[in-house]
Symmetry: C2
Subunit: 321 residues, 2 copies
């Protein structure tokens, strides 16, 4: 049956919900003239989408491919050349974009964190996406974004909430924005070729924190792993069943706070021998495992103190074929 036109849009210029960039924005980001961007687009080097009005729009993917193919370095906006806010296509306001580009020019982590904090606690998903996406275009790796921007900001938000300086809804908004913004970027950036390796990931029962776990899943996927994610709040006895079924190369357990240690100890004592039987490595990480006594309960092959330690371990122990 034919698609009903009323369901599929209202004649807006772009039919996709993808953040795209105008010729002017790309010119500013790459510090070249608009005519240069148009020429690259006309020669077919730089893919563009045409709006119904005939204007060029560029996707993140097209920009990344061009940068990579030409070993191109994006140098950021020329501050003097800023244009009125209306031109930004309603995505983010000019003041935010200007502060963002300035911070990226200076590679100023503190300002980037402050901007992300502001966007996240206001529930402003567009700004969150814009920040991660532009930073990535400007050379921040996925790991750097996770470690140098997201993690410190989320720690600060947790801390301020515990001190009563932040409303719980603000903490919730920040979580939603973060899950959504990292996923948005992650699903648009290059991933390595499938390695054929499988990781089973989850968080233990009673711990509802999901962000660190999600970031671990993203790192694995970027490295070309097949990831089976059970999410947070999964009983350890159920990890046992899943390991038997999927026979993964590694199991990643991410936890921020552990509750009911006695139950976890009993379940874990049943779980760990199964991994020995199947040759599955066990990797643990997260705030809950900072305590050496807790690490003693959760016998493991590797304990990651940070995302980059985890990545280093992965690349060392499971090198590309």
């Amino acid at each position: 049956m034919p698609r009903k036109p009323t369901e599929s849009g209202n004649g807006s210029p772009s039919s996709a919900n993808e953040r795209t960039y105008s010729t002017a924005e790309v010119a500013r980001m790459w510090n070249v003239g608009e005519s240069t961007v148009k020429r690259w687009s006309d020669t077919g080097d730089l893919d563009c989408i045409r709006t119904r009005g005939g204007h060029r729009r560029f996707t993140l993917d097209a920009l990344l491919r061009f940068q990579e193919a030409h070993q191109f370095e994006s140098t950021g906006w020329i501050h003097e050349a800023l244009t009125p806010a209306g031109e930004e296509n309603g995505h983010v306001d000019l003041a935010f974009a200007t502060r963002l580009e300035t911070a990226l020019n200076e590679r100023n982590h503190e300002t980037l964190q402050a901007l992300y904090y502001e966007a996240a606690t206001a529930g402003d998903e567009k700004r969150g996406i814009e920040l991660l996406q532009r930073a990535y275009l400007r050379g921040f790796s996925e790991i750097e974004l996770k470690e140098d921007i997201l993690t410190p900001v989320l720690h600060l938000i947790g801390e301020r909430w515990r001190r009563g300086e932040l409303n719980i809804y603000e903490e919730h908004l920040a979580s939603r924005v973060t899950l959504s913004a990292t996923d948005h970027l992650h699903s648009r950036i290059p991933h390595k070729k499938p390695t054929g390796r499988t990781a089973l990931c989850g968080g233990p029962e009673g711990d509802l924190h999901e962000i660190a776990l999600r970031l671990v899943v993203e790192i694995l996927e970027t490295e070309g792993w097949n990831v089976i994610s059970m999410g947070p709040n999964t009983p350890i006895f159920s990890f046992s069943d899943a390991v038997r079924r999927f026979k993964p190369d590694i199991v990643c357990i991410s936890s921020t706070i552990l509750v009911d240690l006695e139950r976890l100890r009993r379940d874990y004592a049943q779980f760990f021998p199964i991994t020995r039987e199947l040759g599955t490595r066990v990797i643990i990480g997260g705030a809950a495992f900072i305590d050496p006594e807790v690490r003693g309960i959760f016998t493991h092959d590797f304990h990651g103190n940070s995302f980059s330690e985890f990545l280093t371990y992965l690349r060392k122990e499971f090198p590309a074929a």
Copy 2:
């Protein structure tokens, strides 16, 4: 600094993590010859991406734009013309794709549900995405997918888990696959132009269910609303603070199971008058509100029994300008 080539990929043909379709796949889906697809692509009517090897790949977005512009009806695979699995670019295996296309040809909801159940409980995100994406290309609306495929399957999964027929990790995998697959489709399909209206969404404290809430958020976004989502497990007193801050047009409360009714009753008695003050409408939905007594506690402007009832209400009460 220049992007490090080692970070950004390994020379795989497509640099994005986007599911794209080959010429052969599009030809089968539209029931035309490959040369026809190539001709449409060469005339510029149908946008394509070229792989490094020079092959055409088509994004969901490009296919949808073409279908819409030409009022084109996709009629599905010709069963006789199926090609070996290798050609599917490793996305899903041919057996699954064949069963899927057959079910779509017959518009057989039962088979589609069975296929989705299988993919979801196995944690197979790729199949989940493929199913929703192909069904959408074949004319299922976003609402139909939510109501006729996802909802009945998730109910069945919940039911089987309660009866002990499903492991808790399978229920978790199904949730992860669903959140990921609907988000994947949602972020790629056309949304209406921004209406300028704001919705604040959340689930009450103690209820960890997040899928129904997420589906509500997606419906609102597709309709062009600005959505501020606090996620599940948000105290009602915090809804009050957020309503005062964001002054939304509507508040949507989605709940599957309510715990601690006494506390909710007290908090809600403080919350509701604020919405009257600000002219904010309150909409409730989800399994928790099937009980009329519970609905009596949560004074509201509208109670949605289904996603389509909710959509009808939205369009009637907040018509496009």
